[in-house]
């Protein structure tokens, strides 16, 4: 399936990450957007509100983020690709219905343009300290898919990719960007629509009296049932069986929760997207995501000029975490360095998986600005000592 030709702004543009993200959503076929203003994400909603009337979409500014998240789930069940965006406190409010999206396996995309926290924190300055909230922010056990763009170009591309993953795996997908990428203006090349590959929603091929909304399939991804077509199916946030009926006992809980987790974990190799450079014979490898994966580049170049064998793994997907690759690297290198704008949220996950096989370092700070390349360089020097 290809993008809708007349609504894709093919060509070279000068856009910030937030505007590029909005264009990515439009190119992906998003036609319902419910949001609530919050810095530094609002430009996504603004561009969508400006563009939607002429592309057949509907933008609505809801009364709060709780409603925004609930509305995109409702619209997605109605058959329209849907998204929302938020930052900081708004992300906290959305966690309730994000969980409903996970439980009811509803495709949609939620963008968090991260700022400094906790609480109101730093509304206008960058952070990456919502990474664990992305992972565990709603109550209960579940797995998520989270992408981290490093530029306006990637904001465009990864928004399309997020929609594709959400339809493929029938679940909400997170884009965990940050204020820096959101407000950074760069060249963005939007390809011709025929080069934009979209994954269409998979609906059941079964008849209404045979189809189940949460059918147990080999790939653990149940095709969706369409509303308004006589399927008369039930969907609930309660623990449920294949029929979508509530079943309140430990056995049903085990089945329901494990399937939701396996759906991501068993497809982790397909979902995980890493970009590696100079890792082959590296002594030290930097792992970073989002804007931090760009900030480390001058530090790496400086160290390499001095003959230090340092490579980089950029995590385009942060969740699910690339356990397998990190384990492999840990057995080959002297040290792994995590660079992130928080005090070790993804670092601790990396360290847990390394399990003492190599040294681990965190280049972390509380947000408000990106890393200074010099600080990263000093950690590289320390790691090769």
């Amino acid at each position: 399936m290809k993008a809708d030709a007349k609504n894709v702004l093919t060509g070279a543009h000068y856009l910030d990450g937030n505007h590029a993200c909005a264009e990515g959503g439009i190119a992906a076929g998003c036609r319902f957007f419910a949001g609530y203003p919050i810095t530094p994400s609002t430009e996504i909603a603004e561009r969508i509100s400006q563009r939607f009337p002429l592309v057949g979409g509907l933008f609505i500014q809801m009364e709060d983020e709780l409603a925004s998240m609930a509305a995109i789930l409702g619209a997605s069940w109605g058959g329209v690709k849907s998204m929302s965006c938020t930052s900081g406190p708004g992300f906290s409010l959305m966690m309730e219905n994000f969980g409903l999206g996970i439980m009811t396996e509803t495709p949609c995309v939620l963008v968090n343009v991260q700022r400094g926290g906790p609480s109101t924190g730093l509304p206008t300055l960058p952070g990456q300290a919502d990474m664990m909230q992305a992972r565990w922010g709603s109550h209960g056990d579940y797995e998520v898919i989270a992408l981290a763009p490093d530029s306006p170009q990637e904001s465009f591309e990864l928004t399309i990719h997020a929609f594709n993953l959400s339809e493929k795996y029938r679940m909400p997908v997170l884009i965990m960007t940050d204020e820096c990428v959101g407000h950074m203006t760069e060249k963005v090349v939007i390809p011709p629509p025929e080069e934009i590959e979209l994954i269409a929603r998979r609906y059941t091929e079964k008849k209404p009296d045979e189809a189940l909304p949460f059918e147990l399939t080999d790939d653990l991804i149940s095709p969706m049932l369409p509303v308004g077509k006589g399927y008369k199916f039930h969907v609930t946030g309660l623990t449920h069986d294949e029929r979508g009926y509530p079943v309140i006992n430990a056995e049903a809980q085990e089945k329901n929760v494990v399937r939701l987790m396996d759906k991501v974990n068993k497809h982790a190799d397909d979902i995980i997207w890493l970009e590696e450079s100079d890792v082959e014979d590296a002594e030290v490898v930097i792992i970073a995501y989002g804007i931090s994966s760009r900030v480390v580049k001058p530090a790496i170049a400086r160290a390499q000029k001095e003959g230090i064998k340092v490579g980089e793994v950029k995590m385009v997907t942060v969740w699910p975490f690339p356990e397998k690759r990190v384990k492999e690297l840990a057995s080959k290198v002297k040290a792994l360095i995590m660079v992130e704008m928080n005090y070790g949220q993804v670092f601790l996950e990396m360290d847990r998986i390394v399990g003492g096989k190599c040294a681990t370092y965190l280049a972390g700070h509380a947000g408000g600005t990106v890393h200074k390349p010099d600080d990263v360089y000093r950690i590289i020097k320390e790691a090769v000592k």
């Binding site: 609505i60 409702g74 069940w77 077509k229 008369k232 039930h234 969907v235």
Partner: protein, 294 residues
């Protein structure tokens, strides 16, 4: 030898087309007002002769929240208080469908109060039926924003001393195009009101005063479910078009019921489509969501 057998035809329950019979018996207590409300809704849908494929019901959390699970329709049991915004999204995606929200007073008016007033303000074309039993029943009888002054609840053991909401005036002043209140005793009138509400373009609201004999009546020593129905019989005053400033419900006071609002006003989608049409002219294509075209 020839054996002939003639079995009597299997009798279909009159509600079978609209209920998930494989989920019956339901979880509600006997004498609960929900049985009557669901019957009224099912009867209304049957009498309206709607295409039931094109009707969806959305509930929040609580005793009434469970309604979605028993209706044989596309049905969504969502999170606490969020049935209305979920329904808004569903309606916008499928404006060809009738979307009905059925939930309780705590769900719709306390935790979901903000969504209630804003969706009424926008005049989104959905129907909201609020079953008001004056209490949080599912969690064990806690005080609600509808609990009358002096009535006891699990978290107001000495009586409630806060002012409760008057739901009709809340709905009307927020922008609803149809507002009615009936009790679980007024089955026929309630059914008619639900039919009116479903047919009415815009945000239509029906409040159902419903008995909770297990908690509200027990905590307040009001007797059995039958006693409550008798109370409604003796104390309901039908006053169509009543001044909504005078329909407050005090503890064991008279209950003013009737149709309070029935006005014409462009719906949310009408406003959006007309507004953009004025701005963009023929370049604008009215939003129709998926409209059944998957």
């Amino acid at each position: 030898m020839t054996v002939e057998t003639r079995q009597p035809p299997k009798e279909e329950h009159p509600m079978e087309k609209l209920l998930r019979m494989d989920r019956i018996p339901h979880i509600w207590c006997s004498t609960c007002g929900l049985g009557t409300t669901v019957t009224a809704l099912a009867t209304a849908l049957a009498q309206l002769e709607l295409d039931l494929d094109k009707v969806a019901v959305v509930s929040g959390i609580g005793c009434t929240g469970r309604v979605a699970g028993y209706m044989k329709l596309d049905s969504f049991h969502t999170t606490h208080g969020r049935a209305i915004p979920f329904a808004l999204g569903l309606h916008i995606a499928r404006p060809d469908m009738k979307v009905i929200v059925l939930s309780g007073d705590g769900d719709l008016i306390s935790i979901g109060g903000n969504h209630f007033i804003h969706t009424a303000r926008r005049n989104v074309d959905i129907t909201v039926i609020c079953v008001n039993n004056f209490i949080y029943a599912m969690t064990g009888g806690q005080v609600a924003p509808t609990t009358p002054i002096t009535a006891r609840a699990a978290t107001a053991p000495h009586g409630n001393f806060e002012h409760p909401f008057n739901l009709p005036i809340l709905a009307a002043s927020s922008g609803a195009t149809y507002v009615a209140r009936w009790t679980a005793l007024h089955v026929r009138r309630l059914t008619e009101a639900i039919k009116d509400a479903i047919t009415k373009p815009g945000f239509s609201f029906v409040e159902v005063i419903a008995p909770c004999s297990t908690l509200y009546a027990r905590l307040n020593r009001l007797g059995s479910g039958l006693d409550l129905m008798k109370f409604y019989h003796d104390n309901s005053i039908i006053r169509h078009g009543a001044d909504m400033n005078e329909v407050d419900i005090d503890f064991q006071s008279k209950i003013v019921v009737g149709k309070f609002v029935d006005i014409e006003k462009p719906t949310y989608l009408d406003c959006i489509n007309d507004g953009y049409k004025r701005v963009f002219g023929n370049r604008y294509q009215p939003y129709g969501g998926a409209n059944g075209d998957h």
